[in-house]
Each structure stands twice: as structure tokens, then as C-alpha cells.
Amino acid sequence: MREFKVVGKSVPKVDAFSLALGKPLFADDIELRGMLHAKILWSPHAHARIKNIDTSKAEALPGVHAVFCYKNVPRVIHTSAGQGWPEPSPYDVVMFDNKVRHVGDRVAAVAAETEEIAEKALRLIKVEYEPLPAVFDPERAMDEGAPVIHDEPDCKYIIPVFYDPKHNHCAHIDLEVGNFEQGIKEADFVIEHKFKTHHEQHCSLEPHTCICYFDHAGRLVVRTSTQVPFHVRRIVAQCLQVPVRMIRVIKPRIGGGFGGKQEVLIEDVCTMLAMRTKRPVRLVYTRGEEFTSARVRHPMVMWVKTGVRKDGTLTAIQLKVLSNAGAYGSHAMTVMNNTCAKALPLFHCENIKWIADAVYTNLVPGGAYRGYGVTQAAFPMGVMMDKMAETIGMDPVDFWKMNTIKKGETSPIFKALSETGKGVEMIVESCSLPECIDRGAEIFGWREKRERYKNQPKGPVKYAVGMSCMVQGGTVPLIDMASAFAKMNDDGSFNLLIGATDLGTGADTVLAQIFAETLDIPVEDVIVYPSDTDITPFDKGAYASGTTYLSGMAVLKTAEKIKEQILNVAADMLGEPKEDLRIENKAVISSKSGKRVEFSQIVKRALYSKDQFQIAAIASELSRLPPQSFAAHFAEVAVDTETGQVKVLSYVAAVDCGTAVNPKLVEGQVEGAILNGISYALTEEFFFDDKGRMLNPSFSDYKIFSAPDIPKITTILVPSYEPTGPYGAKTVGEVNINGPLPAISNAIYNAVGIRLCDTPFTPERVLRSLKEKEKKGQTGQR
């Protein structure tokens, strides 16, 4: 392990102090003269044709400046998925259509002087719907005669992949490495289970927010809460049918994203309203709209079959996936692909078969969500591993260690598949998962607790522990690119302009640290300016756990180029060859003569005195492979066998993210992901009625944890060194959200003997399963 000066230190987040003071830094914290307020009319039907819309009364209402519906905006088929071009999501959405495909689908929009007037205008819009039969169950969506959700002739993928919208079939891929059937034959035990995961909302505290206005040159400025400013620019230009040069996207501070803001959800309509009205327009989602009209984690049905030998060898894995894409196919194929591409390389197994389908239904559309398919697959795989270990009488800790990928090894999956299609071959060059498992188990007290809970206390509450391991590859190889630009100022400070998008994750800080480390300067000397499409160079955006690894490498390369320029000037100033010079503490020092020249002297010379030029550089980094981050999670639960309520008492995560550039920020990522995962496992739930309406679109009814609900969480960082990453760093944003579902399910099993394969683990589900088990037990006794 290398020692660093700035990397590896928990410097405070560069924006934290301003945020603590409550400064107006978010998208909605500006007030523009003449700003209009936009509101959207949503479909009350799960599936309906719009026979007619009469907007005349709304248009006539004083204070109303524009009313949009399918009749008066261009029909540009596109995808709202904020992905690179050509997007690996189907083009199946338009700004306004004459058909609605889920409750909460867009029907019309209004821009008015106030929000109140806009809301009033919405009530004056008369819509004539012709309701159509709807399909909600993904297992019925491809049935013969099922209602066709995308019957429009222009829907398509713009890349060559399977697509059969006439059967609601949004995506399909399958693959086999080795020979699955052979692997099953070689097994001593074969285990099969069906699993189901549920909807989840991101619940960023800041709702989707967009303010659009004109600059001095008549161009559209889009100030928006997004994870993907450059994709927003491209897709908005596409929807508005204007050149990209007419659009500037600015990302201010963002109040959380988690994937929900990797979607061009409101920018198209907000900019269109601004363009037509020639006024600034503000569009902010309500909390209710976040639930019904944004995106969710794709619910999945999964069938898993595995084979294991008595000696612990994992001989075969088959994973069949049915993903519920909802009404639009945004991220449907890529999330589905990750259930294999980014989840299965974890396992030592020669024979893997994977068959996956994504289907349209008339429910809220899926999208990107932290974990991105890996969360879904990690659940069944984690439970199956536990069951296999139990079947052969092995401690899960030992079974996991035996059957997971190690440093220097590869998985055939890497080459076979990536998020977008074909993968790249790679060797895992850094992996401390075995140490994670050992240290996690030790600090958690795995063996002691297993021993202790063999004797359960009297009373209705039973205790136990469970564990699981997880992986998440970062970036989409050969597609994702990031870049950075930096220039040197008179005092030896630097402007670092990055396309990378800090959503609250601390990316600005981490990238400043990488820059500072490379040039041996304090972090305060790095002035970070992020994500403004007019000013900063391109970055794919904040997704696929890519920022530290990929944008970090771009920043590192930029700093190295600058270092060369500084050394060149210093060599001239000192009259010594560059090879004898090194950078240290904001100065260049000669190893030979010991002479020293300060950065501020060097830059002044470059700017003012001799052979003047701007010390500046730009560099890009293309992802060559997806670096693998690992974790081992341990959960201790209490199950109330009379109420069915499950409480997580303590939780330990041992994490390998390579070098932790900023350990405190890494811990924050881990803790946040774990708690999100735990409340997803226990209390977060979408309820729909039989018409496809969500019944609980609010924080009072959709329950995420608050402080008194949290268990004791312990994070252990177990470093490794990733040679392809900046200072050995990998990724950490997503991997830890993949643990709670399997770890808690396994712990519940150990406590009360029920294997929960459907999520969430609600009190009612637990109690029902307990009763079913009791019944079976009784029959068994007879």
C-alpha cells in the first residue's frame, strides 16, 4: 500500500460548509423576474387512448401562458433514460402522446404566472379518454391477447437488439457459459427457488427540479437537478428539435439522486414551455409525483437453480429473470443485463446459464436505481448460497470464501456480457473480499453470535444472524468516458473544471483530492467547478459507480499534464534538466542542487514574464474494464414471532473499494446504502389498487427509516489496490445496497426457520410464513 499526502485523508467536503449554513445552492433556490410556474396533468387511467383534449378553457384563464398536449408539440420519439448515445434503451416515449400507459403518465402541461393558476388551469382541461384493458402482472404481460402497451409504429431501439413491443416484450438476452446441465449432473444437491423483488422509489429529499431561462444570446439555459447534464443537453436538443449549441445545462448542488435523476424526466417539457413563452419557467415535482410519475427500481421475478457438491464446489447456476419495466423501457435492458453482467462474476462456477426478459406493464416505469439490477440478483444469489451452505453443512462464511472470485482470477461472464451487450475480458487485479469476510465476521462476532443464538431466550422474540457477500462492477467498459480541464492561477491555485456530477456524494471533493495529490498541493488550492455544459468538458455523468474511478483518472491525467508544464518552466528558470526536478509542497525542487522555485513564481513567469502561456491541460479517460468492488455484510435480527415484525439490531459491512480516497465520505456512502437497503427490505412498499393506482404516494405511507429506526451500523474498510484506478481506488457508490435483502433474509431464516423469497419482509409476510411452516411441520409429524 502506498502512503499519500491528500488521498486517503478525510478532508471535509468542499461544499459542506456552505450547505451547513443553508446557502441558496439548489436548483430551486433562485428567483427570476417574470418566471412562470409549470404543472403537469397526469393520467388517472392505467391504459387509455386520448380521444380528444379541449384546452381552450385553460388557455383562456388569465395568467396562463401556455398549455401543451399531444396536439401542439412535435412528436419526437426518444428515450428519457440519461444514457450515452446511441442509448441502449428503447425509443418509446414522446413529450405528449395521444395514449397514456400508466396512472401518472403525462397528459398535458401548463405554464402560468403562479402555481395556483397553473393548478387551476389543469382542472379546466377536458380530456376524453377511451380506457383500454391494462396488464399489471409481468408474468401475464406476454400472454397471447394481452393488451399491447406500445402499439405506436415508431417505437424502436436504435441499436441492434431484440425488441418485440407487439408482445410487450421490451428486452431479451440469454447466455450460457460452460454447460449448465452438465454442472447439475455433477452436483450432489440441486436447489431451486422462485424469488420476487418489489418496487422502490429513490426518495431523494430534493424533488426533481428544473428552471429554464434565456441567456444574453438567446440560448436556453437549463438549471436542473440531474445526474447527467451532458445527456440532458443532448436529449433536450433532440426533443425540442434545436441544435445542441442552443442549450446550456447547469447542475447546481443536487439534493440526492440515487439513479432517479439519471433520467430526462422534466427538462424536455420545461424547456419547451420556456421556448414557446419566451419566459423563464420553473417546474418542480411534488412528493406525490415523485412516486407516481418518476422512476422506480425494476421489480423482478427470478427463478434460480443451483448445483453444489458435498465438498462445497458450486457446479452450476441458472438464473432466469423477468423484469417489470413498467410503461416505458427506460434502462430496462441494461438493468436486466446487470443481473448477470455485474452480479454473477462474484461466483466461482464454470457452468452458468442466464435467461432474461423485460416486459412492459401498465405500472410506473422502472429506471436507474443505485444497484441497477445487481441489487435484484444479489438477493436470490445470497439466499441460495446460504441454503447450499446449510445443505452441505458448511458455515456460510467458509462457503462464501470458497466460492467467490479472487485476485488474479477471471470470470467468463466478463467477456460474455456487459450492461449494454458484449463484455470485455478482464482479470480481477484487486480483491480483498476474503479479508472482508474474515474481518467482518470477527468484528461482528459471527461465530460467537451463532453459538449464542443456538439457545433462544424465552418469549416471542427470536434472534439470529445472517450474512451475504456482494460485488458491483463500476462503469460501462468501452462506452463511459470522463474528462477534466485545469488551469493554473497567479497564486499557484488551480481551477479544476470537471464534467463529473456531484449529487451530494462528495465527488467534487474526491476529485480535488486526486488533483491535489498529483501536484502535491493542499486541497484548498483546487477550485472545483463542476457540470456546466458550456464550461466544463464532457463526462458521462454520475452513474454506474464511475466517478471516483473514471473521472478520477481523467483528473489524475490532467494533473500529470500540468505537472509536465510546470516542470518545463521550472527547468528553464533553474537552468537544470527536468529529470533532476521534482514537485513538493507547491514548489519545484532540484534533487541535485537543492534549489527551489515556488509554484507562484513559476506561474507568474508563465503568465507575465517569458514565453508567456497559460499552464493548462485537458485529459479524458475511457473505461477499459469495470473494476470490481466487493463487500461482506453481516446482520443481526430480532423476529417477533407473534407480530411478525423484524428488527435489525446490528449490521456490519466490510468493504473493498480499493483505496478509500476519502475514508469518511466512503463510510458515508456505505452507511447510506445499507440503511436504504434495510428499509427497502423491511418497510418500503408500493401499494396499487386493481386499477393500477398507487395508494401510498407520500412519505407518511411509503416508509423510509428515520434515526430511531436504525440499527448499530459498523463500516470496515479493507483496502486493496486497483492498478487501473486513481491511486488504487475503485468504486463504492452502489455495492453496499446489495447486501441487506439477502443478509436479513438469511438471518430471519436462522432465527425462525423460514426462507423469505419474496420482498419486503413485512410483519404480515413473516407471520404468514411462520404459520405455513407450522402447518407443514404438523403434517410432517403425522
Binding site: A20, L21, G22, P24, D29, R253, G256, R287
Partner: protein, 156 residues
């Protein structure tokens, strides 16, 4: 209608419609640290302190603030002289996206003003009405503990 009240120790005259919520009026008056995360009293990002007690300004008519003393995040610290909680939130890594932070800090401040020496459970209860999706609350609780120590409370 029109009322007077004290905001951050300054006498203010507020003009609004009787049905308007304190949240919207405060934001309109430029107190942007008061956030709107749900408009329904569930998320706590709009928390302000009224007469020493943390309340949710989205569930309060602005009219109810007549003659009362209101404290917003803008009133408890400055760049030069931050509140100890603002300092410890920065130091402990309690701030990720920062959208919940103003409300979180105000809830914590109302607690420490009344109870300089809270237990961990008391801290959790004081911020139970403030949702955070980024941090898992771990570092937020740490920040409140640290501030309580710095402000002279003895740790229990």
C-alpha cells in the same frame, strides 16, 4: 394579511394570504435554507425553530407566526462565526447532499438548547422527524454528539 414577528432576531413585517404556509412565505422572503421536500409534514426539510421548539413550517399557517420568534438556518451562524453544529456537521461527514441539513441542524439545535447533554436515544428522537436518504444518520448523530461536547455538555 399582515403580521409582525421576529425572524433571526430581526423584527419583520410579513404580508401574505391567510391560507399561505409559513414555509412558502419564508422562502419568498429569501430564507432559502428552509427547504420543501414534501409539503406534507413528513420529511422535516422545512424545519424552523419557533419560540425555542422545532416545528415543520409546511404544516403551519404563516398567520400562526404572529408575534412569535422564528429561527431559520440563516440565523444561527455565519461564514465567520458558524454554530458549533454547523462546524461538526462539516467535520464528521454528516453532510452529503445537504438538502436535509438545515432542518436537521435546527432540530438538533432545539434539542441542545434544552438538553445540552443528550443521550444517543435522545438525539435520535430529536431528529426523528427529519428524513435523510444519503447518510444513514450515523454521522449526523455523531455530529450532534460532538457539538454537545464542544458546547459544554458532559457526555453520558
Amino acid at each position: 394579511m399582515e403580521i409582525t414577528c421576529k425572524i433571526n432576531n430581526v423584527e419583520k413585517r410579513l404580508v401574505f394570504e391567510p391560507h399561505e404556509r409559513l414555509l412558502d412565505v419564508l422562502r419568498r422572503e429569501g430564507y432559502d435554507g428552509v427547504k420543501n421536500g414534501c409539503s406534507a409534514g413528513d420529511c422535516g426539510t422545512c424545519t424552523v425553530i419557533v419560540n425555542g421548539r422545532a416545528v415543520k413550517s409546511c404544516l403551519m399557517f404563516a398567520a400562526q407566526a404572529k408575534d412569535e420568534e422564528i429561527t431559520t438556518i440563516e440565523g444561527i451562524g455565519t461564514d465567520e462565526n458558524p454554530h458549533p453544529l454547523q462546524q461538526t456537521f462539516v467535520e464528521t461527514g454528516a453532510i452529503q447532499c445537504g438538502f436535509c441539513t438545515p432542518g436537521m441542524i435546527l432540530s438538533a439545535k432545539a434539542l441542545l438548547d434544552k438538553n445540552p447533554n443528550p443521550t444517543e436515544d435522545e438525539i435520535k428522537r430529536a431528529i426523528e422527524g427529519n428524513l435523510c436518504r444519503c447518510t444513514g444518520y450515523v454521522k449526523i448523530i455523531e455530529a450532534v454528539k460532538l457539538a454537545s461536547m464542544r458546547m459544554g455538555g458532559r457526555r453520558k
